[in-house]
Symmetry: C2
Subunit: 369 residues, 2 copies
Amino acid sequence: MAEKSEKAKPKDRIEELGEEIVRDVKGGRSPRFVTLARTRSNIVFDQKEGYLKLGKSKEERSFLNVAQSKRFMQTIAIAAKCHKFVTENLHTTIRGLFYQLKYSLGEDIDENIFNEQAESNPLIEDLEVGLGLSREALNLNANRKGVLAGNMKIKDKFGDEMIQIDCSKQGRSGWAIPSDVDNDIEFVDIKAKYVIVVEKDALWQRLNEDGFWKKENCILITPQGQAARGTRRLIRKLADAGLPVYVFTDSDAWGWYIYWTIKTGSINLAYIGKDVATPEARFLGVTMSDLDKYQFLNKLTINANEIDIKRAQEMLNYEWIKKSKEWVTELERMIKSKKKLEQDALQGPRLTFVGEYITEKIRNKQYLP
Amino acid sequence: MAEKSEKAKPKDRIEELGEEIVRDVKGGRSPRFVTLARTRSNIVFDQKEGYLKLGKSKEERSFLNVAQSKRFMQTIAIAAKCHKFVTENLHTTIRGLFYQLKYSLGEDIDENIFNEQAESNPLIEDLEVGLGLSREALNLNANRKGVLAGNMKIKDKFGDEMIQIDCSKQGRSGWAIPSDVDNDIEFVDIKAKYVIVVEKDALWQRLNEDGFWKKENCILITPQGQAARGTRRLIRKLADAGLPVYVFTDSDAWGWYIYWTIKTGSINLAYIGKDVATPEARFLGVTMSDLDKYQFLNKLTINANEIDIKRAQEMLNYEWIKKSKEWVTELERMIKSKKKLEQDALQGPRLTFVGEYITEKIRNKQYLP
């Protein structure tokens, strides 16, 4: 399980699993693989730490159990492939893994190990949890999305070379955040003082053009919508480096979801909860209470749709929301007014107002927990 | 119209429009704005050049015409804002423009110029066509997507600084292709010999990890699915620099669509057809005929769905497809077998096979027109 392997190398950890199986077979016992259950009932919100994680329920796949032997065999086949990838030092995706598994059965065997990728996906998660290793450590890339600019450098091992990328010299493009920000990659010379995460790439480009990160000495990130694993992990790592994290989204259902996912993690990734959650993150805006302070925004609200209203109502039932007077006020205001506000609206008076808004909000500590 | 303004600066071009209007008003004539029709009936496929473009039908918005005066006023309001953006040397998106227009009416006027962005979008296209300027030249960023690696450098004006980005030193990330690849940006030191466009980012990462672009001295691009404006334009520019362009996608409806969009342009962007189409592009694969040459792929086909079959049938009716025996064979084979093939499947035997496949296909000139 996760605890014992935190320092183990992926290759060693997979080999340990193999050795256990061989020992069981030689000892006349049924080989088995133990993992934590990823069912809803085993996903808990850690009130103290502030993120979603797995509980203690375990699941076992035993070879000599008719109901489990197929899944056991499939899990071991995946482990063997990942061992190969790690040994070769080559990466692929779960789609690439799926095709390797399909391919690797000899021509004379009719039955495929997997017929659909949907079969292999949950087993990869089993392995991640059971071995205490992320899929990135198993050389499986996840989808990547997200861009960064700011005063920091990246050392990225590329082939035999160590490449250094200066995130303050990426022009209009920014540095594209990869799937894996943990292995063979380092973040050095972090001179920036805080991190601002901007929901939309359009607003990131606006702020980047203004040299916002330069003037403010911050790190400017956009997840380009909902944050991918790599971006969530990177935000966590920057928080670990001591940088405060502020999140700037629309004031609507989707924007809040993006914020809470960065902050508390998500149900889907509860099995690696701690590594991809940043409970220290603060919500900078836009907020419904901005309408009081910035009068012009009242002309620029748009109609909330049913999803926004429904989501706001659901959020009012969360324990951690109920505790925050500010969030309750925000949500109730949207439900009552049936209006929402986009971060793009800040460009109404002048394009450069977006940066002024962020600076003022941070200076006055006007953010939500 | 497009012809006369190709060398004009955006600011001058908008001012010309303003001066024309003033002349009309002073001369007692109704001010008007002329653009090309972007209706289906005015979109033609240029057989000789091989791309989709607008025909010669014109549309006029006249101020003193009750049916047209609102659109005339809206178009001029957009032109005025773009003039402001260009003068300030600041960029935004069409969403940012929408909010500036909403904002700019005084507090005492109840009626908004635009109530929905859907109203302003087509008018921006009118302006692009009427002025012969792309929206990027009007300082309106479009969505960006796509990544590049290879032996070339980029000079990108960022603030007062000219930043140089080496696309061979971007590690696992690659250089993120921006929305605008024409203004204040230059491509220099293009040492690569050809361009390979890979549909999926997953495969781009696979090839990038293998140092494929380094060994082959090519430029490795992924549009990350359907190509955004910036990526299409960049491919066109690299073809203009004399580099052959090969496109590598799945053998299915979506993959073909991505290819044909890069090659011939698309109906939506027919109004800037020539600038975003690369008729010289060749289709490298994967193809149904790969099944004959690479036996193992027969185990790795997946079922074609209804959309794939329907799309293949439609494509058989296109004039330019009918002329190509190879494409007809491809499409008929998929319709008959009801099977399709993903580029990911090439990883079946070994992860590095993807690069071997590409090299062999190019060497043997095994590509479709």
